[in-house]
């Protein structure tokens, strides 16, 4: 049986550490990202695709933009124009579409974003963004046939050249 000696007290390893952040949480003084308010801060609400695969025929921002407090309605096309359509992922070799461009590729994909002076105004206006979809048929969702090939095709089609 091995002898276990007590670790020197000044080291963290081998002993239970008191958490430094706990006093504020147990006193109700925790501060989360949602609690942060900065001068001039704006709020974002997203518009999601209800369809897993659909061509975006048009996006009508006018009703949303007419709402009080709404500063901007941003679509995938706007981001592409600003060279912000794709963001790198943590992998580094991959990149990700920020907002759907041309078509929605999965259900709930982000299609537009509404920026407003309050959370409520952004959410209300997001409901007024009018997206006209042309829904693709089910033949695109045959999981048992050439799933991998189709995925790669889709990725190439959407600008990925080095698909592995």
């Amino acid at each position: 049986m091995a002898m276990i000696t007590e670790a020197p007290k000044r080291h963290a390893v081998g002993q239970s550490m008191k958490r430094k952040e706990d006093p504020r949480f147990i006193r109700g003084a925790g501060r989360y990202i949602d609690d942060i308010t900065l001068p001039g801060m704006l709020y974002l609400a997203l518009v999601h695709s209800p369809y897993p695969h659909a061509r975006i025929v048009s996006i009508d921002k006018s009703a949303a933009l007419a709402m009080p407090g709404v500063k901007a309605v941003i679509t995938g096309e706007d981001l592409v124009a600003a060279n912000l359509g794709w963001i790198p992922t943590f992998h580094g070799y991959d990149k990700q579409m920020v907002l759907a461009v041309g078509k929605a590729l999965f259900q709930y994909q982000e299609v537009a974003g509404v920026v407003a002076t309050s959370r409520e105004a952004a959410i209300d206006a997001a409901e007024l963004v009018e997206v006209d979809y042309d829904v693709y048929g089910n033949r695109h969702f045959d999981l048992h046939r050439s799933r991998r090939r189709r995925t790669e095709q889709a990725l190439r089609h959407h600008g990925h050249q080095d698909v592995r």
């Binding site: 949480f25 147990i26 006193r27």
Partner: protein, 115 residues
Amino acid sequence: VCVVVLDGERAVKACTMFAVQADGHAITTVEGLAQGAKLHPLQQAFWDCHGLQCGYCTPGMLMTSLVLLKHNPDPSESEIRQALAGNLCRCTVYQNIIASVQQAAQQMSPQPVEA
């Protein structure tokens, strides 16, 4: 935040009670638990026993436990679990929360129970 204590007797979710219903009642929030610099035994126990991680559910856990211990100073493990069932911890530190409440119960009891 979230769970508040009404008249020191009842733990209520603040969002499920209208202000008019609370009219004339004493409300204790987690901010009122410590006596100045001195932590309430429940707060101390949660800290000692690692009864929290992100801390988001902690006010609710503390205030619900406060009422539990008022009515039942020596609860069993299952009684603690039952009392806290309405409070969810997404970090899932439930085990330590139970231990925290048990430690607090021990320290708050007039005659400390032999462990």
